[in-house]
Symmetry: C2
């Protein structure tokens, strides 16, 4: 098998840029995924794997993950340890990477009684990924992503543990319009004590839970499109919960 | 005022090492804190601020935060922008740092009906800090920290947003012994579907909620010291919640 040994190789440079730049990912319609488990999960979730890159060491160590991956990947290329280190976002890479096609950005469907999450400019990749992971684990029906959210940042991909491949996700440039056309009540999560206590809300008919930016909360335009402001009542001196913790509690309360 | 302009200055080198090394923090009994808000919160929470370092720019920009800080700090030293960049853990530092004494590590007290969190080798600083933030926001009575947890890592300090200074925290090398001597039921959070559903637990008499390591969960020795294993019931294909999300849901359920 041919092996890429140079970091100056064009395919390597493209892959590194896909890892680093959201704009480049959108331009190319591709993203770079790292790690045996995540790559296998993506392939098994129907993500189109265009090229599988792996080291000789990984080929032996992660054989069980690679078998289903090889069956899906259009192309398999061996890379040296040095190239693996260049492709990786971590300090101890497993040596497995997939160049994938960005999936369809309009996969969420309104289901009766479904609980949906909408992310309005949630900024931190760890938070975005963590929220998707909670949404899947707790049984959310789908995710609506407004501008400023990027699920294909390496950290967001890691934190989501594949939830973004399995959950129905819709990406929109106009979140207020999408919220207005939903048949469900749309609740903006805010850290304000005068907003409605989530324990008094009836979520049984379905709902959209809207989470805002870490620093600035839900934007005025999105707030304006929501049915109501709701809040997790707090004790103590803390001003607010982290957005991923608040999302977990809201999902739990709506789905428990 | 004298200004430190060299990164080779001994005080700067010590501060950088305190930021980087948990072992050095323990050895010196000190930690380095960064940011106007966090430094002020620490001082107002009774943390002993030994030296305040700030840039001329910060002195003007964050005057309202600095006033209470200067009143508490034993010593105030001006630093250049280059030194600020060396001290900082972020890409755009505010230019305010405090060298603080590590607080007493035995502050948690058993209160009737209190809900306590115990961290058993939770590894990621973001998770540790996020869990402390949730604990304070939701009204937890205190935190028990087993080995492997380090609240004074710069990322943990940022994620906790000062909760670690205000919450009663006890650090222990023997978490199983501390759990055994508690008067409360001690619940190990596990991702196993055969563990007890948290919706069926009566938390009203107080409880200790034990969160485990991101990869390996609660250790066998700690599990053995717990009254019962409990779990957040899950849907979908996800194997588990992130530990900070699980802690938020558990705290919420126990305190709602």
């Amino acid at each position: 098998m041919m092996e890429i040994t140079s970091r100056a190789n064009d395919a390597v440079k493209t892959a590194v840029k896909l890892r680093e730049s959201a704009a480049f990912r959108r331009e190319r319609g591709q993203f770079l995924l790292e790690g045996a488990r995540l790559c296998r999960d993506a392939a098994q979730s129907g993500i189109a794997v265009q090229t599988l890159y792996c080291t000789l060491t990984a080929q032996e160590k992660y054989a069980e993950y690679l078998a289903p991956l090889r069956a899906c990947a259009a192309d398999c290329v061996r890379v040296s340890e040095a190239v693996s280190a260049a492709l990786s976002d971590t300090s101890s890479p497993q040596g497995i990477f997939c160049l994938c096609a960005l999936p369809d950005t309009n996969r969420a469907r309104w289901k009766p009684g479904g609980i949906y999450l909408a992310l309005n400019n949630v900024q931190e990749p760890d938070n975005q990924g963590g929220i998707l992971r909670s949404c899947e684990a707790l049984g959310g029906a789908g995710v609506l992503l407004g501008g400023g959210c990027d699920l294909y940042h390496p950290k967001a991909l890691r934190a989501a543990m594949g939830a973004g491949f399995r959950l129905p996700v819709t990406v929109t440039a106009d979140l207020p319009a999408l919220l207005r056309e939903s048949d469900f009540p749309t609740f903006a999560a805010v850290p304000d004590s005068d907003a409605r206590d989530i324990r008094t809300v009836d979520f049984s008919g379905g709902a959209v839970l809207v989470m805002g930016n870490e620093g600035n909360g839900v934007s005025p335009a999105v707030l304006d499109a929501c049915t109501e402001r709701i809040t997790v009542p707090m004790a103590g001196n803390a001003e607010s919960l982290n957005v991923a913790a608040a999302a977990a509690i809201l999902l739990w309360e709506a789905l428990r």
